[in-house]
């Protein structure tokens, strides 16, 4: 009954779409960690800030969501830059607990700022509606929602851009160099502070894209970012902290596994998948998670 290939394909597509959200989050997290050796615990909240910005641009100004996404990425990117400059930079070189404190405190600040700004206007949950909400491509075996196709295309375009930036430009080489060896990078004349700022900005921008995608396919609230962020933590621990490839493959794979687990085992298992995976790794290969490679 459920082994109909069309249905399985549908589940796969769904997994890839939600996997794109995890991939974007994990990539940003791992990029920031690689360069700054800081985990941004508030990544899920940056994500929701992105979702709300896109939502607001559409809801209040009538901006097309697929254009709003870019404005939102830029806006949250700037927010990330501010967070790095005003928050993490002064703490560099002090006790680790200070960075952890800031990272965790940002969750409360962003969540409550969002809740304060949006809940009075939009009740508890909001969703971004695109003009294509009910349109589908009929591909024979499966019906592909317009939105899914656009979201996958958009994500991959952005990821391709990131790849070109990192591996085909001088700036990308500087960034990878800083991530691999900060001291050596500074000795090569690289302004590592500028790289910190850029990586946080890019990571935040990717989170905003993830949030906007999420907000197009799900209703969301200021608190919706927490679980996806925790899953992204699991993904980057599995994929190796600092590894972009691990984040991309891990994020997509995770989305697909979650999709199938939900489909076959039921919704209660959707969020459990991450932790079961995480536990398995901790039990089976705890040394594997210490690998840091860019």
């Amino acid at each position: 009954m459920i082994l109909d290939p069309g249905v399985l394909l549908q589940v796969l597509i769904w997994g890839l779409v939600i996997g794109s959200v995890y991939m974007l989050l994990a990539t940003g997290l791992t990029l920031i960690f690689g360069v700054m050796k800081v985990i941004n615990f508030a990544h899920g909240e940056l994500m929701m800030t992105g979702a709300f910005l896109t939502f607001l641009l559409w809801h209040a100004l009538g901006l097309h969501p697929y254009l709003g996404v870019f404005v939102s990425m830029a806006g949250v990117g700037l927010l990330g830059i501010a967070v790095e400059r005003l928050g993490f930079r002064p703490l560099r070189g002090t006790a680790k607990i200070n960075e952890i404190f800031l990272s965790i405190a940002l969750i409360l600040i962003l969540q409550n700022a969002l809740a304060r700004a949006f809940i009075p206007y939009f009740r508890e949950y909001a969703q971004i509606r695109t003009p294509y909400a009910h349109r589908v491509f009929d591909l024979g075996l499966l019906n592909l929602r317009y939105d899914f196709a656009i979201l996958l295309g958009l994500t991959w375009a952005v990821m391709l851009g990131l790849y070109l930036l990192l591996f085909r430009t001088e700036f990308g080489r500087e960034m990878r160099g800083t991530s691999q060896n900060r001291l050596a990078a500074a000795l090569m004349g690289i302004d590592v502070g500028r790289i910190d700022t850029a990586s946080f900005g890019i990571g935040a921008g990717l989170a905003a894209l993830a949030g906007s995608l999420y907000g197009i396919i799900n209703p969301f609230s200021p608190y919706s970012g927490t679980l996806p962020a925790i899953k992204a933590f699991a993904v980057i621990i599995l994929g190796g902290l600092g590894s972009i490839r691990g984040a991309v493959l891990g994020g997509l794979l995770y989305g697909v596994v979650e999709g199938f687990a939900t489909f076959f085992l039921g919704g209660a298992w959707r969020d459990a998948t991450a932790f079961i995976l995480l536990l398995l790794v901790l039990l089976v290969r705890p040394e594997g998670i210490f690998r840091e490679r860019a």
């Binding site: 985990i39 965790i104 304060r116 902290l241 969020d271």
Partner: protein, 331 residues
């Protein structure tokens, strides 16, 4: 440079004196006022000072837990279920229930024994979400899912409102002071010294013969018990109800904020921090909304971290020393 464990111990006043001071202060307050709201706020402070004490103890062994709500919530659920379903008196279940988070703490400690800093943070952070999921979904039949459970009262039913408030206040005070004395003596013991050594440098600790694994796991277990005790106490006295909301991020963050505000790695810091932050919070709530208050609190803490990285307790000590210095000079 950071003071060594030994020099820290020398400079801190004796904990028994401080405990007596806290009891005296709290009793004095009770003699002056029976203002219900104030008693409730302070009861809350006592309970969450236990919780912060637990976080701080674990941090003392070099482990920054970002999932402490796991222990808080499990302690509450275990004790309430023991009282409801097995008919244990809450005065007993209060102490038996936290054995569950203690066990879970040992398990998490064992699993994460090689993780540090950000890794440990991410994993413990995730554990809270797993626990919530388990409590709601897999054990939903026991826990009544999102609706949660009514908690039996700790105090006998016949008490007046004021009597109950005073009772809760005294119980909270007693347990907080007991916890304080226990943690203070633990920190001073060989075990506490081992914790501190691990915190300062795990490698050095291992080389100098400290069984890092054992002490790290032990710290998580002890932390689990104390946090669970706070959760159970909170459920049976103040909230009289527990729901999966207890496994939220905020409840994992608070003990960190309290401890940092008061001063990490001293048994007094978490108490001072909880008191100051909580009173400030209540004052602010009268003027601002909840969202704004939270943001203000966090910003205030950021200022503390920035300018008083050792927290507020050293300031208090210095203040006391400045007052106490004069007779000493004369002598």
């Amino acid at each position: 440079m950071a003071p060594t464990a030994a020099s820290r111990a020398r400079r801190t006043p004796p904990s028994l004196g401080i405990a007596l001071g806290m009891v005296a202060g709290a009793a004095l307050l009770l003699a002056v006022t029976r203002e219900l709201f104030l008693l409730q706020v302070l009861t809350f402070v006592f309970i969450f000072a236990i919780y912060a004490q637990s976080w701080n103890l674990v941090a003392h062994s070099g482990q920054f837990s970002l999932g402490h709500a796991t222990f808080l919530g499990l302690g509450g659920y275990a004790s309430i279920l023991l009282a409801r379903n097995l008919g244990l008196p809450p005065a007993v279940s209060l102490f038996v229930g936290p054995l569950l988070p203690a066990l879970v703490g040992l398990g998490i400690g064992r699993l994460c024994v090689r993780l540090r800093e950000w890794y440990l943070g991410m994993v413990t952070f995730g554990f809270t979400a797993i626990t919530q999921l388990l409590v709601v979904e897999q054990f939903g039949w026991l826990t009544n899912r999102w609706d949660g459970l009514e908690a039996p009262r700790l105090l006998p039913a016949g008490l007046s409102v004021e009597g109950a408030a005073v009772g809760n206040y005294l119980i909270g005070l007693g347990l907080m002071v007991a916890t304080y004395l226990a943690v203070a003596s633990l920190m001073r013991s060989r075990t506490g010294l081992a914790f501190a050594t691990i915190h300062d440098n795990e490698l050095v600790a291992g080389v100098s013969g400290v069984d890092v694994r054992r002490y790290r796991i032990l710290a998580m277990g002890a932390g689990g018990y104390l946090a669970g005790l706070a959760g159970a106490l909170n459920g049976h006295t103040l909230t009289r109800h527990i729901s999966p909301g207890v496994f939220g991020i905020e409840d994992s963050i608070w003990p960190l904020l309290y401890s940092i505000a008061g001063g990490l790695r001293t048994p007094e810091g978490p108490i001072l921090g909880t008191l100051v932050v909580r009173l400030f919070w209540e004052l602010m709530l009268r003027r601002l909304g909840g969202f704004e208050s939270l943001i203000t609190i966090v910003l205030m803490l950021a200022v503390i971290v920035r300018f008083f990285p050792q927290g507020l307790y050293p300031l208090v000590l210095r203040g006391v020393a400045a007052v106490g210095a004069r007779p000493a000079v004369r002598r």
